[in-house]
């Protein structure tokens, strides 16, 4: 049962991240996702400090807001201060992360939070906190939150698909036809913040980034259609969770690290296969 709980939790993170990551990859904003995943640290700390856990919904929203706060800072740097965008991201998220670490090391003893779990999570222990769902079956507390967020994200993506799609692939056209580009930007960023905040505790910031960038990138190499890419990215994420978990068990290593490595392996294989196929096609067409 323990295996199932861990894979179930990781897969939920994978789905959440794949949904958001696919849009980020197409918008060339994955590093913004990386920045948010580090920058929510102060928010998460405050959430911990106030409630003792990330489990309550209002606190979750508060932490997600800190992610949006980070995007706002980055935007202020690029538009108002005219700092080049890569430096704006680099400067802001390191500052927020540093503040988070300072807060944790100052008050962290009371909040049961340390740097290690921020970076690579504690997915091995999810089954320590089980809760019953409607009195029917037991699920890890973490995965229940992730499930709720997954449902929210799926509804949000289906409901806002048109707006997200048009602002992702043709922002100028969207702007000229009166689509609220800014709204959809922050809509997506809220989703990314929410995903990062709820995922970080179980899998850590690094696996969040791997899930945000890896499965969508692999899917992007394989299919052209964006809807197919979304679904394929989710499936690849789940596949990597399963593969990564069992390799971790086999070699007795960190699960989060192992899943990231697995994503890297799958990417390498797909990358080489696509290159090989392409060069073959080139030969034929030549």
């Amino acid at each position: 049962m323990n295996d199932f709980y861990i894979i179930f939790t990781a897969s939920l993170v994978a789905i959440n991240c794949a949904l958001m990551g696919s849009f980020l990859v197409m918008r060339k904003m994955v590093m913004l996702g990386d920045a948010i995943s580090h920058a929510v640290l102060p928010g998460i700390f405050i959430a911990y400090f106030l409630s003792g856990s990330t489990a309550s919904l209002p606190i979750l929203i508060g932490a997600a807001l800190s992610g949006i706060f980070a995007t706002l800072i980055i935007e202020w740097f690029t538009t108002k201060a005219r700092l080049q965008s890569d430096a704006a991201i680099g400067v802001s998220y390191t500052l927020l992360f540093a503040i988070g670490i300072i807060l944790i090391s100052k008050f962290g003893q009371d909040a049961d939070l340390d740097q290690q779990c921020v970076l690579y999570g504690e997915i091995e222990y999810v089954s320590l906190w089980l809760e019953s769902v409607f009195g029917l079956f037991l699920l890890p507390k973490q995965s229940i939150i992730l499930l709720v967020v997954a449902v929210i994200l799926i509804i949000a993506v289906i409901w806002g698909y048109k707006g997200l799609f048009i602002t992702t692939f043709d922002p100028n056209f969207a702007l000229s036809t009166g689509v609220a580009v800014g709204f959809w930007h922050y809509f997506l960023m809220s989703g990314v913040s929410l995903t990062t905040v709820v995922s970080f505790e179980s899998v850590g910031a690094i696996l969040v980034i791997a899930f945000l960038s890896g499965p969508p990138a692999i899917a992007y190499l394989l299919v052209e259609d964006f809807k197919k890419m979304l679904i394929l990215a989710c499936l690849i994420g789940i596949g990597c969770s399963i593969g990564g978990y069992y390799s971790a068990k086999l070699f007795d290593v960190s699960v989060a690290g192992s899943i990231s490595t697995f994503i890297g392996l799958v990417f390498t294989v797909v990358f080489i296969a696509v290159r090989f196929r392409k060069s073959k096609l080139d030969v034929i067409s030549a």
Binding site: V25, L95, I206, G214, G257, T261, R275
Partner: protein, 428 residues
Amino acid sequence: MSIWNYISAFFSAENYTLFVVSIGSGLLCFAAGVVGTFTYLRKRALIGDVISHSVLPGVAVAFMLTGVKNPLYFLAGAILAGMLSIWLVDYIQTKSKLKPDTILALTLSVFFGVGIVLLTKIQHSGNAAQSGLDSFLFGKAASMSIADVKLFSAIAVINVVCILVLLRGFSLISFDENYAKGLGFKVCFIKAFLAFLTVVTVAIGVQAVGVVLMAALLITPAAGARFLTNSILKMLLLSGAFGFVSGWIGVFISYSGTGMPTGPWIVVVLSVFAFIAILFGKQKGVIARIRLKKSNYIKINNENILKDIYKLAEQGQNTITEKEIIEKEKYSPALLNSVLKRLEKLDLLDRIRGMVIMNDKGRIAAREVIRKHRLWELYLSKYFSLAEDHLHDDAEGIEHVITPEIEKHLIQLLERPEKDPHQSEIPY
């Protein structure tokens, strides 16, 4: 602890650690700030992040292969892994349709993931000597040793010497790679060498401040320095100085509070410096630009109103009411009032009961604007063959920014014309 206690503690031999850590952090941040200037200028701020995450598997492999905790082996492993990550990012970018941001995120997370896998493998194998490896994740600036400080001084000296020797090449590839190629520079070599310097600096620095914050040591001082100067030499100096001072102050703060981590405090101090520079930079700073915008706004309003009054007078009116100006310019009465007040203060016109009377000084100022406007119209119609109805809007904007030198040049070029394309007189 007060600053005096700190200073006396610093100079007394009993607090040797403080002395070592202060100097060490300062030198490391200096080295990173200097080499980071080029990382910043080449718009590769996030590659620092990738390198710092990527050194982890290199260190782990070095430990697994040798089985000893030798900083030199660690460094070699870290540098190799860092170089590999840079090469991979470039390779994937040229060979696939993926965009740089995706590749950066993927590379850093996979390298780091592999690092964590190896690290947990080492931990679970029960090797007692592994405890030092954790410092590569989160840094251990507070427990810096003399050997570390020697290493930091070495990298600081190496960076300065290499940059001084290769300054021209580094600057060229930062601003215009193709131009550098055209001049016959070995761009590939220079790029690889710069990458190597960056990787070495990051690999050394990661042990002090940890993987996440290392990127800040490279980027933040350079970002701040960029707002203060346009000269690359000054930027290098400023960036290095920011780094050195921040390293020092960061240690001071963490030393004065209990359980305060050094690395994060260095980053906070660096960010404060950068933020001050971004706000108060003399030309590029946010405040300077807001001021410039405001002074331009005032100048444009002044000149527009002067011009209107002059034109109304040109049509043969002696007294002009404020109402007429509003009709002409579509200003709100409040705005017009404030502009007229300013012009009155400048002694360019007088206001009597809703009437505006321009004096000689005002007329000269108005003529100047109108002259520039009409000269520009003539220039456009003569040299760009624009139609008559396309001239006005362009001239309306440019009249406020033509300097006396440009005006002189225009007059010379157009041979001191009498009439503009609309057959209005050009006043001199």
